[in-house]
């Protein structure tokens, strides 16, 4: 080894890399393909009739490790669409400036009301813009493409095998995982949670 040949060797590596295809893209003009589960900011969804899905059960507010969600539950009132009594949220604020994007609020939502979106985050000029008010969350649900994950899908993915007492190291018979049967606890838990705001 001497300095000259080693330096030439390193230079050759640099030259070889100079002619490789670039791995970066010009971001605002070209957007790289996002994976299916890509998730960024948040949205609240409406159901098909335009009624708010959120029932004000406070599950997401309680699970949030950073306590960025603040909900004012309205209690039960008649739905303007169906006329049935159900829970509502009067106010829903999510502070993105402290959010750690852990997706736990999406996972625990019993009615799949809160989801994340696929839209790349837009930098803001003020901190106030990072506070997602209820109007902005519902607007996100209309404007922005929603991400793959919601409560039902995330729970179904993690559902343990039905009645399987896990055997140590025993090679399991291949059981189909993934989009398996609907979790039977979903309607039950959402019914139970509806009692909570009282």
């Amino acid at each position: 080894m001497n300095y000259l040949t080693d330096s030439l060797h390193a230079l050759a590596t640099s030259l070889r890399n100079a002619f490789r295809a670039p791995t970066t893209v010009e971001f605002p003009d070209v957007i790289r393909p996002r994976p299916e589960r890509y998730r960024t900011t948040f949205a609240l969804l409406n159901d098909e009739q335009g009624d708010q899905l959120c029932i004000g059960c406070l599950m997401c507010e309680r699970i949030c490790p950073s306590t960025v969600i603040a909900i004012k539950a309205a209690g039960k009132r008649e739905s303007p669409v169906t006329g049935k009594k159900r829970g509502y949220a009067d106010d829903f604020v999510l502070d993105l400036s402290a959010c750690i994007y852990c997706e736990l609020c999406v996972q625990v939502c019993p009615v799949d009301a809160i989801v994340m979106t696929r839209a790349p985050e837009v930098p803001t000029f003020s901190r106030e813009d990072l506070v997602l008010t209820m109007e902005r969350l519902y607007a996100n649900g209309v404007d922005k493409p929603r991400a793959w994950g919601d409560g039902t899908r995330l729970m179904a993915m993690q559902e343990p095998a039905p009645g399987a007492a896990p055997a140590h190291h025993a090679p399991k018979a291949p059981t189909p995982s993934g989009p398996s049967a609907h979790t039977d606890d979903k309607p039950a838990s959402s019914a139970a949670v509806r009692e909570e705001p009282q």
Binding site: M1, N2, Y3, D6, S7, H9, A10, L11, A12, T13, S14, R16, N17, T23, P35, E36, R37, Y38, R39, M59, R62, I63, C64, P65, I100, Y101, C102, E103, L104, Q107, V108, M116, A147, W148, G149, L154, M155, M157, Q158, E159, P160, A161, A164, P166, H168, H169, P171, K172, P174, T175, P176, S177, G178, D185, S189
Partner: protein
């Protein structure tokens, strides 16, 4: 008047500086906390005699975020995403370590599929972490290596392909929150293993290029050989683990010696090197890059079918109550033994949760191995120890 200062490499860090050379006019250099070479926020007081470092006093705590206290305030369901930020270069290993402790006290069996996926994730994190280390270490050593930032750019380009793969799994590039108590939150998507193998092919082909610019480069050798020699006895005394310990000739790796996840079903060739200097630490990490690629290749096609979660998915904030007891669980992260000491009292919150970070122990070697070296050696030694301040200060 020329005068050489004779300083033994191994000195007592708490010794008074007056005992070294009373006649010397020592210069006190505050190094850090916001120097880019400190890999975060870390401060050392360097007492210099000319260019020679006589004494080094490290100060930590600039990135303290009270994670251990947060783990007592939050419930077990909420803790996993918080610890992602401890070792922010390999976040998944933090989640795995803390969940291993919860699962052990709960007596929860993690399904075999989840254990295999965890192993693959851990090894891919090792590749990404060592790539980041290589880039930043080459940049610490400065301009000689093809322009300084060249290796850094190349290593980050390859690391990016691993981040893309993790993004496909969890939807997030860095703070994944992809583990849960009893297993994983996200199953691997269809066709993922093929893309992993593609990325590994690229990375493996390019390891030779990194070596051409580092391990086969004379300038690199002169900056690292014999610099920061850490002998095995001292390393064991200080509790140093991981690649830093293996570079001192101690054959110790928790993946083989105390298998967790699915490491009992796969052979791990432990890479060691003699010498204990910065060069040996580089050799070990480059060897581990290749070894991790081999392990991922061996496992990725034979991940068993089955559920990915052995417990109940997290639904309620208070639903997980760990029975009273205490446990210590250790796993091998890219930086060494990451231990979690958990005291539970039967409530949904931990009574005490202590995290033993490998980087803190690695940093504790600085006062021993730095004196006698030059200021530029200080950067090389600090970089070669691969400390991550997020987990040092927590």
């Amino acid at each position: 008047m020329l005068r050489t200062l004779q300083v033994e490499r191994r000195v007592d860090p708490h010794l008074s500086i007056d005992r070294y050379d009373p006649e010397a006019e020592l210069l006190l250099l505050h190094f850090g906390p916001q120097h880019p070479a400190t890999h975060g926020v870390f401060r050392m007081d360097l007492y210099l005699d000319g260019e020679i470092v006589v004494k080094c006093v490290p100060y930590v705590g600039y990135l303290h975020r009270a994670v251990e206290k947060l783990c007592e305030v939050l419930t077990y369901s909420q803790v996993t995403p918080i610890v992602d930020k401890n070792d922010y270069v390999s976040p998944m290993t933090n989640e795995q370590a803390i969940n291993l402790a919860f699962e052990k006290l709960l007596g929860l069996e993690v399904p075999r599929r989840a254990r295999w996926i965890r192993t693959v994730f851990a090894e891919m994190q090792r590749i990404a972490s060592h790539l980041l280390w290589l880039g930043t270490f080459a940049m610490d050593l400065g301009g000689a290596l093809g322009g300084g930032a060249t290796v850094f750019m190349h290593a980050f380009r390859e690391r990016e392909s691993i981040m893309d793969l993790f993004e496909e799994v969890s939807g997030s590039r860095f703070h994944y929150n992809t583990h849960t108590i009893g297993g994983n939150r996200h199953d691997i998507p269809a066709g993922w293993s093929g893309r992993v193998k593609q990325a590994l092919d690229v990375i493996e082909a390019r390891i030779g290029e990194y070596e051409a610019m580092t391990l086969e480069n004379r300038i690199f050798h002169e900056r690292t050989r014999g610099v920061g020699v850490l002998d095995g006895t001292l390393a064991l005394e200080l509790g140093i683990t991981g690649p830093n310990l293996r570079a001192s000739g101690v054959d110790h790796d928790l993946r083989r010696d105390a298998p967790f996840h699915a490491y009992d079903e796969i052979t791990v060739n432990v890479i060691t090197a003699e010498g204990g200097d910065c060069l040996a630490r580089t050799q070990v990490r480059m060897g581990e890059l290749r070894e991790s690629i081999r392990i991922v290749r061996a496992m990725i096609d034979s991940i068993p079918e089955g559920p990915i979660n052995g417990g109940k998915p997290i639904k309620l904030v208070n639903s997980i109550k760990i029975p009273a007891g205490q446990t210590y669980v250790a796993m091998e992260t890219p930086r060494g033994e990451l231990g979690t000491y958990l005291i539970a009292d039967g409530s949904p919150k931990a009574q005490r949760l202590k995290i033993r970070p490998p980087s803190l122990h690695a940093l504790s070697a600085m006062p021993y191995i730095l004196p006698g070296g030059t200021v530029s050696d200080a950067l090389a030694i600090l970089g070669s120890l691969d400390p991550i301040m997020g987990e040092v200060d927590r």
